[in-house]
């Protein structure tokens, strides 16, 4: 055999092994060195640190909420692409294609159910994740920017949910688009009252951009489809990448200053902790603040991310998949009747996570739909810049007041929400009391704004009493969480036909 041919054959035989080596350059992660290269040699994994602090791996630090959120997103991504094989974004045809997916397409119903449940899990997890970050004061320096990215991710997540339930073009979809577009138009509530709509009409512009027309129709559906399958997922992926990378750059997850003493030495069975003596100056020592690497234990009480962190993440992700699959097996995603532009459902209810908002817009479209959400987002965004304290960082309910303050705030938050909403339900509001009252007064003074004002006043009282911004923030955040929960409960359970109050859906009149 000619030497050229034998070299060729040898190369052919080695091709699979060489392809493998070219893809995974560092080999199996068996030593400290290869465990490190396993992380930073991989574009996806290198968003993680090479070594993870043991505090970050405790269940009570994060409860895995961030990973649950991202895992749920990945599930919606996969199932969403599958649904796009059959979905047609055109009025009426859209409804038929969803019915096809539900009744005809192999595994279509299961995939749609998974998509729906993963989206719900994502909304719940992202809200709880934000609460976790807040209550452990994880937004503080140097994590302020990541808190803002997290807020943007919350908004994008809710946007994805909203644009998603519009696509089936059923009654829920049609009236949700109608209401959503009119909320976008609701600045007119103010510009009309000031009689400047002819010259300055941001509301009308927003509605036109959202619907692409003056009516809800094919233009609107294609826009929401575009947002749902392209613009928002892309935005979410980009923001999430920055969010994860920033965790690493901000020094890992937040932990108390004395985390190392509280953890003590790693249990003997922990493997690997730090198996090899460094051959040369430990690279991280140059960039990580603090003492240099101690022999026998990882720098700053850390363990290698591979396997400790990645196995934990994979476990949480698998649990999320399990929950979504379980829910999808037994509970079908809803599909109402075909959209009927002449007759809304009575009551016409949004999905559960928007019912608190629906309760608010039932007081004032502009304040409920744009004003108060805007104030809440502004407040959330300001928190890390107003609270420059250090006490309690990394501790659950850390800071002056602590858990007792949070418990008292729950009472205040729920109590005042029950009181204000109760007054509005039992006695009506300004319009019923003074029929001639100008609209601008109703817009400014309605149960939603009064509740916001009570919460703000309570928070300022706490700032004074404890001499601490963190105490005020703890109270305010807890109050808004309670207000959100209570309004959502009222909207989902206690509101019936014509959005009237009923103690139970069993009392609804037959119509």
């Amino acid at each position: 055999m000619s030497p050229g041919l034998s070299v060729f054959l040898e190369n052919l035989r080695a091709a699979p092994r060489r392809a493998y080596e070219a893809t995974f350059r560092s080999g199996p992660p068996t030593s400290d060195r290869t465990r490190s290269t396993f992380v930073f040699g991989n574009v996806f994994l290198h968003l993680h640190p090479v070594r993870t602090h043991r505090w970050s791996l405790r269940w009570s630090t994060t409860m895995g909420l961030g990973i649950i959120t991202f895992a749920a997103f990945l599930i919606t991504l996969v199932t969403g692409v599958l649904l796009m094989f059959y979905y047609k974004p055109y009025p009426d045809v859209a409804y038929d294609s969803i019915k096809d997916i539900h009744f005809v397409v192999p595994t279509g119903r299961f995939m749609r159910n998974i998509h729906r449940w993963a989206a719900n899990v994502m909304v719940i997890a992202v809200l709880l994740h934000m609460a976790r970050a807040f209550y452990t004061a994880a937004y503080r320096k140097p994590r302020e920017f990541n808190w803002l990215i997290g807020m943007a991710l919350l908004v994008v997540t809710l946007g994805l949910s909203f644009t998603g339930y519009l696509l089936p073009w059923d009654q829920l979809a049609y009236w949700a688009i109608t209401i959503g577009a009119n909320i976008a138009q609701s600045p007119r509530e103010v510009t009309d009252a000031l009689q400047i709509t002819d010259r300055f009409d941001p509301g009308g512009l927003q509605k036109l951009l959202l619907l692409g027309s003056d009516q809800v129709g094919e233009e609107a559906l294609i826009r929401f489809f575009l947002l749902h399958v392209m613009v928002l997922p892309l935005a979410l992926v980009l923001l999430a990448a920055v969010h994860f990378w920033r965790i690493r750059k901000d020094g890992g997850l937040v932990r108390p200053a004395n985390a190392d003493e509280r953890l003590g030495p790693a249990p003997l069975e922990t493997y690997p902790v730090f198996t090899e003596a460094p051959h040369k100056t430990y690279q991280l020592a140059a960039i990580v603040k603090g003492k240099t690497a101690a022999v026998g234990r990882g720098p700053e009480g850390t363990v290698p991310s591979m396997p400790h962190l990645f196995y934990a993440e994979a476990g949480v992700a698998m649990l999320t998949v399990l929950v979504c699959l379980g829910l999808a097996l037994f509970l079908d995603a809803p599909l109402k009747e075909l959209a009927n532009p002449g007759v809304p459902e009575n009551p016409a209810k949004a999905p559960w996570y928007f019912l608190g908002l629906q309760e608010l817009v039932a007081f004032s479209a502009f304040m409920g739909g744009i004003g108060i959400p805007g104030i809440v987002l502004l407040g959330l965004g300001l928190i890390p810049f107003l609270d420059r304290e250090e006490a309690g960082t990394g501790e659950w309910f850390g800071g002056p007041g602590g858990l007792p303050l949070v418990l008292r705030s729950i009472v205040v938050g729920l109590g005042s929400a029950v009181l204000v909403d109760g007054i509005a339900i039992r006695y009506g509001w300004l319009r019923e009391w003074f029929p001639k009252i100008p609209q601008l007064v109703v817009t400014l003074v309605n149960p939603g704004t009064v509740l916001t004002f009570i919460y703000a006043a309570y928070s300022i009282y706490l700032v004074k009493k404890y001499g601490s911004t963190r105490a005020g923030a703890l109270g305010l955040f807890t109050c808004f969480l309670c207000g959100f929960a209570l309004l959502t409960l009222v909207g989902s359970y206690f509101r019936g036909p014509n959005w009237s109050f009923y103690w139970s859906p069993a009392d609804w009149p037959v119509h």
């Binding site: 027309s213 129709g217 094919e218 016409a348 817009v361 479209a365 409920g368 609209q439 959005w499």
Partner: protein, 170 residues
């Protein structure tokens, strides 16, 4: 070896005294750089505005909402007649006809005619028969839309609103 003129020697002009390492008194390069930067920035800005112009539809594809309808012979005074598939309530009284839009002024749901006026199923606004707000979050009264007589029938244009209280005799 040629020697450079001594710095500060009396015969050298002042401008030649500066070393190449000293900052220029007039930051010429800064000026050019800044001009280039601002030119690029404003180009990007205007290009973005131009791109943003695309999603704002110039032509609205909505169909005409004008239709002809025959009112029922025995339509009692003060009772609303809603033509099927339309979002407008027609009233007839003493030889006069008028039309109240049933699109809620709050967030665009279709209100339902009741004994006292109209009720909105979405957020609980209530309206009197003439469209004025009686309760709930609706900021303004229901619109009145254009009606014109055509023989025994009436022509209604849902797309064109008229001042409240505009009635047409038939």
């Amino acid at each position: 070896m040629t020697t450079a003129p001594e710095h500060g020697s009396p015969e050298t002009p002042a401008s030649a005294l500066r070393s190449r390492l000293d900052p220029e008194p007039v930051p010429r390069r800064d000026f050019l750089g800044l001009a280039a930067l601002w030119a690029s920035a404003s180009t990007v800005l205007f290009a973005t505005l131009g791109i943003a112009r695309l999603p704002k539809a110039a032509v609205l594809s909505s169909p005409s909402r004008k239709f002809k309808v025959t009112l029922p012979e025995a339509l009692p005074a003060g009772e609303a007649f809603v033509p099927p598939g339309r979002s407008v309530a027609l009233f007839k009284e003493a030889g006069e006809v008028w039309a109240v839009s049933t699109v809620c002024t709050h967030l665009g749901c279709i209100v339902k005619s009741s004994a006292t006026g109209f009720d909105c199923p979405c957020h609980g606004s209530g309206f009197a028969k003439d469209g004025s707000v009686t309760r709930g979050p609706a900021p303004t009264a229901l619109k009145w839309v254009k009606v014109s007589a055509a023989g025994g029938d009436v022509i209604v244009d849902e797309g064109e609103s008229v001042p409240l209280g505009t009635k047409v005799s038939v």
